[in-house]
Amino acid sequence: MDNESPAKAILVVTVTALLCSILVSSAAVFLQPLQKAYADIERIRYLVQLSGLVDSDADLSEFAIVSAYQDVTPRLIDLETGSFDQNLDPQSFEDPDTADELQQLVSIPAELDSARLELRPRWISVYQVETDSALPRLIFPIYGQGMWSTIYGYLALEGDLNTIADVVFYEHEETAGIGDQIQRPAWLVGWRGKKLYDEQGQLQFDIGSIDVDSPEYDYRVDGIAGATVTVDGVADLVRYWFGPHGYAPFISRFDAGQER
């Protein structure tokens, strides 16, 4: 075949594209279990850092992570009733095979869907930190849309279930150098000690700079200049998860003095 004929060009391009896509997809498929296993360790590392059981800035060995994780217990919340579900085993929701059968997806009313998720699971695992304290920290999973991608994170609340103890975002596809600043430790430190709800139990949390003297200061985290779209997404997803369709019913039960 003539090398410069259109037919040859199409043939060469098609064959190259086919072979390359086989190469790329088999690499992705074969390496995925390893990547997933690593992602699980990372997730546990973040949970341990949020637990307050270890110095959150320390560079922990795998052993230190696993041993600290022994004191972090997953507990299942039924978001429909807003209480711990004592009958189901949290472990069965971690395993994808059984989770598919057990889990129910609930559609989110459009006016409440600030995290732009459309669906959320009915049961969700939160992580309780076992300490001597009567009111242990609780770590809540949070996720929602940023600018380009779904952002996944954990937010740890102090025992009063109002004060933010710590926060991380462990997975996202925001632009490196812009949106990924939501992972900068210096920014995340600014969340510590901020509150979600005011005295009346209204959700006041928001992101964006505000005057120190303002009454809203206690509920405000600084924004990140140049990454406002991503950060607005983060504020919206926090407001969704701690709003009426998320954890708020669960949290308000404890204000009423309920046993954990």
């Binding site: 060009a9 060469v12 391009v13 190469l23 790329v24 390496l31 690593y38």
Partner: protein, 220 residues
């Protein structure tokens, strides 16, 4: 024949170094040379991609229609880069996080497409492999030199191990923060280019334009 093979491997190290002679691959050389470890991983990644793509393109060179050759070359290079990126994410996840987008950006590293287009597309696979290896090593040599200087003076250590005890820890060494910032890589690469060209004047470029003093300047 033997000398030709040796030439393909050795000349890109200094005499025709892709970074210092052709000034290619500067983006990653500036971005990830603040520690020797990331420079080593980056060097290995680029060399692997370069060798793979050069061999593949050389094998199919007689069947590459002129009109679509760049598309095919970029497809091969991009696939190799994605595979390397996936491997890093699976086997060296922490490193992969440090290098972040710069592994993906190997696709746009001019050294890779440059060698494919200038060498592999016209030469048999064996010598193309050596040429790719030589250029990969030439790039690595500069990258690691720059990274050694930056990490040593910027943080007083190498590969995370302390070499100079810092003043904060009771020693004498005051870390020079500038070395950790990207601009320092520019100065260091510039310095290396200058050193090489003083030693090998044949590498100096001819001025493209002559600067002619105009009347207005002359009359001033």
């Amino acid at each position: 024949m033997k000398t030709r093979l040796r030439r393909a491997l050795v000349t890109p190290l200094v005499d025709e170094n892709p970074v210092t002679l052709h000034i290619l691959g500067i983006c990653s050389a500036v971005a990830i040379t603040n520690s020797l470890y990331s420079a080593l991983v980056m060097s290995a990644a680029l060399t692997a991609v370069l060798c793979f793509s050069s061999v593949v393109i050389s094998v199919i060179r007689r069947h590459l229609p002129h009109s679509v050759r760049i598309i095919v070359q970029v497809t091969v290079i991009a696939s190799a880069v994605i595979v390397v990126d996936e491997m890093l994410q699976a086997f060296a996840p922490t490193t992969s996080q440090i290098l972040s987008v710069f592994v993906g950006l190997i696709i746009t590293n001019c050294i890779v497409l440059g060698r494919a287009e200038a060498f592999a597309a016209h030469n048999p696979p064996g010598v193309s492999l050596l040429d790719a290896l030589g250029n990969g090593l030439g790039f690595s040599l500069i990258l690691c030199t720059v990274a050694t200087i930056r990490e040593l003076f910027g943080s007083g250590g190498l590969l995370g191990r302390e070499i100079f005890t810092s003043a904060a820890a009771g020693g004498w060494f005051e870390p020079v923060g500038l070395f950790l910032l990207p601009p320092s890589a520019f100065f260091i690469i510039g310095g290396i280019v200058w050193l090489i060209r003083s030693y090998k004047p044949q590498q100096r470029e001819q001025a493209e334009f002559e600067i002619i003093a105009t009347d207005s300047v002359r009359n001033r």
